[in-house]
Amino acid sequence: MPALEKLLPRVSKPARYVGGEYNSVRKNWGGVEVKIAFAFPDVYEVGMSYLGLQILYHVVNSRPDALLERVFAPWPDMEALLRSRGIPLFTLESHRPVKDFDILAITLQYELTYTNILNLLDLAGIPLLARDRGEDKPLVVGGGPCAFNPEPLAPFFDLFVLGDGEEAVHELIDLWREVKRQGGRKQDFLRELARRPGFYVPSLYRQEGRGVVPLHPDVPARVKKRVVAELDRASFPLRPVVPWVEVVHDRAMIEVFRGCTRGCRFCQAGMIYRPVRERTVPVLVRQGEEVIRHTGYDELSLTSLSTVDYTCLLPLLDGLKKLKLSHPLTVSLPSLRVDAFAVGVAEGLMAGRKSSLTFAPEAGTQRLRNVINKKVTEEDLLRAAEAAFKAGWQRLKLYFMVGLPTETEEDVRGIGELVRAVLAVGERCGVPRGRLRVAVSVACFVPKAHTPFQWEPQISQEELQKRLRLLQAELRREKRVELSWHEPRMSLLEAVFARGDRNLAPALLEAWRRGCRFDGWREHFSFPRWEEAFAAAGVDPYAYAYRRYAYDEALPWDHLDPGVSKEFLVAEHQRAYRGETTPDCREGKCVGCGVCPSLGVRPVLAEEGKSVSLSASLP
């Protein structure tokens, strides 16, 4: 029996580790020059739901000179076996040790996966610190949203890629080949790459105060992100890997557009993925058809940050409906805009049974929604609810946040009032007694880099608990409400790392040494262990989470440039305090966020003749 087969009967869900799924690609190891292992630092079922993985898998494996194989964080039962038997972490495709690859690419989706990253490196037998890794060890590269503030991870990585990966990965592979053919070393490769947009080499910079500055004159002071100008021309996986087991988002996906300019002031995705770039209807319909044919899924999800905003949504749905398939197909949207139009669309998509519909008003009062630039009124929500109940839904799910800047008790009570108003609408629409349900899901505000709220402190745990209790009391008598919230201490940890600098790296190391893993999983998260780790590293976590950062201080992510200007973020922050909203540039007028002039791109809308007029100057 091969070594792997001896482990599999002893772990839960062994299919996580075997590879060989339909559409997976196994290349001849000796036949390619550049070998990349791609790690998703969470379990298979989470990682296989991520479209970005499928895109890079396809982009790299389409090259004859390169291969990309997958690896996920092993569950603790598998970790224990690997350690006790001395088996190094291996990839799914070839079952080769990760340390045999040229490059280990790790996606950074969420701060609470950071200990899993250290664990992956350790299980792979790769020294954790970049400076301890010789020429024979893989180059460790990070990408994804957290690469826009990767400082707490800086000592562990050789390189971070900022922004869209489709083109950057080709450049990286080409240069790697070139340098290796000329007998160059990793350092030569990194020094050359650092001069190009999208590539941040942390070892060529040092922390000064809280900011980060280059060590050499030929290294840029700020690294601009990469952006794919036209999505229609970008490569898209038409034969994505079909997971062995049911995964978190178990459906086919097409990416309708990238970027979102609604401008919610807490939202990092809305800032770092700008501008909006839509695909056109014929391209999307063809991609949808192919993905369905090649996977056998019966559900197609139209993904983006806000799909109802797609300028050609109805023609797209129509085109998909007309597809001649040999089996029934459901089209789904990942999230809904809060209005009656969106409900109408959702209704058109539902074949029959209506489970539940989700809206995200985010805050309980109009005042606070203006502060966060969530342009949704109570009327919008009640109309959307009415449309949903009339269409036959009996259960609605509402997303809110607590701890937002300027929030008062009145805003928290406002959530309760809004929920009761929704229930009243349900009663009025004749939803049968005993069937009417409103699920209220509450997240704690986490200030994020590159957003207008990047300077804001997170409120204290005591205060958070107080507000959550207040909300609980507000809704206590409502049996038809299902209230749930994120673990506040996880949000605290997220805030620490989301605005962290290099001084946090030792604390991360300590936490991992103390056994922290899967911190985003309630059953594994241990705050006491983290407290010990911070104490051992001599780091005060609250100085990161609870401190108000100043406009004029250098921030740990100022050297990384998503294109949105700091002036715009300051202006947005001030408008927030004045309760002023900012429109979406998708409606036609540029609001001067700076992305387009700075990166030489523009919004791409699918509707013919519709475009955004760029403002000549920045605010």
């Binding site: 001896k6 299919a15 060989g20 339909y22 056998g296 019966d298 029934p328 029959g352």
Partner: protein, 229 residues
């Protein structure tokens, strides 16, 4: 509507998938095949599939069975060809046969299963193996702590074991067994191996064996078992 019985192999890596996910894999493959599959009604139409008996995770199957329903009459060869092209690695068709629509449900037919278990046991002799085999077959009852979702429960494996053969070549041990399966209860092959290890006092773990279901059986006349496909 036409009913077809597919016999298939489930080997590595597909054998590491549990039964519910296997159903999902078959549904996906049938959709990819574009065969005129009959879908269940309701809000979530799915291909109509009836499997003979779930296979435990990690156990190979050489002749597993599933019934599918098509809306047009196609030759078994064509069905086999179309489906073979879209099955994932580790799943392969070994035969397709048309069965009458009104034939009894596949799962209700299953009464027995043959398994092979292979492993290595240091120092085992053919004689020890044979004595152990006889001890098992001659026992009047074989109590076993079966672990289930609700904790361990004592069961008697003896009535469920119909035949047992053991072959030893060097350290290589092969157990061939015919056990009860289906609605009247199941004996799992690793349970028989655990019993064999315990009875013979051999040092080894059932997890170190490689398991394979070689055939499924229906009840024939008398107490006889006849192969299902």
């Amino acid at each position: 509507m036409y009913r077809y019985r597919l016999a298939f192999r489930k080997e590595s890596p597909a054998c590491w998938v549990g039964h519910l996910d296997l159903v999902r894999l078959f549904e996906q493959a049938l959709r990819r095949s574009a065969l005129p599959v009959v879908y269940s009604g309701g809000f979530n139409p799915r291909p109509r599939l009836v499997f003979a008996a779930p296979l435990p995770v990690g156990v190979r199957g050489l002749r597993e069975l599933v019934d599918v329903y098509l809306s047009s009459l196609l030759s078994p060869a064509l069905i086999q060809e179309r489906l073979a092209a879209v099955l994932p690695q580790g799943l392969a068709l070994v035969g397709v046969r048309r069965v009458p629509l009104e034939a009894p449900a596949l799962a209700s037919l299953v009464a027995g299963a043959a398994y092979r278990a292979e492993g290595e046991l240091a120092g085992i002799t053919p004689r020890e193996a044979e004595t152990t085999r006889q001890a098992i077959l001659e026992a009047s009852s074989l109590p076993y702590q079966r672990r289930g979702p609700k904790g361990a429960k004592e069961v008697d494996l003896r009535p469920g074991i119909r035949q047992l053969q053991v072959e030893v070549k060097g350290e290589q041990v092969v157990l061939e067994m015919l056990v009860r399966a289906g609605q009247e209860g199941n004996v799992r092959p690793e349970e028989v191996v655990a019993l064999f290890l315990k009875t013979g006092g051999f040092a080894g773990e059932p997890e170190d064996f490689y398991y394979c279901r070689t055939a499924l059986f229906a009840k024939g006349p008398g107490e006889k078992l006849i192969p299902l496909f």
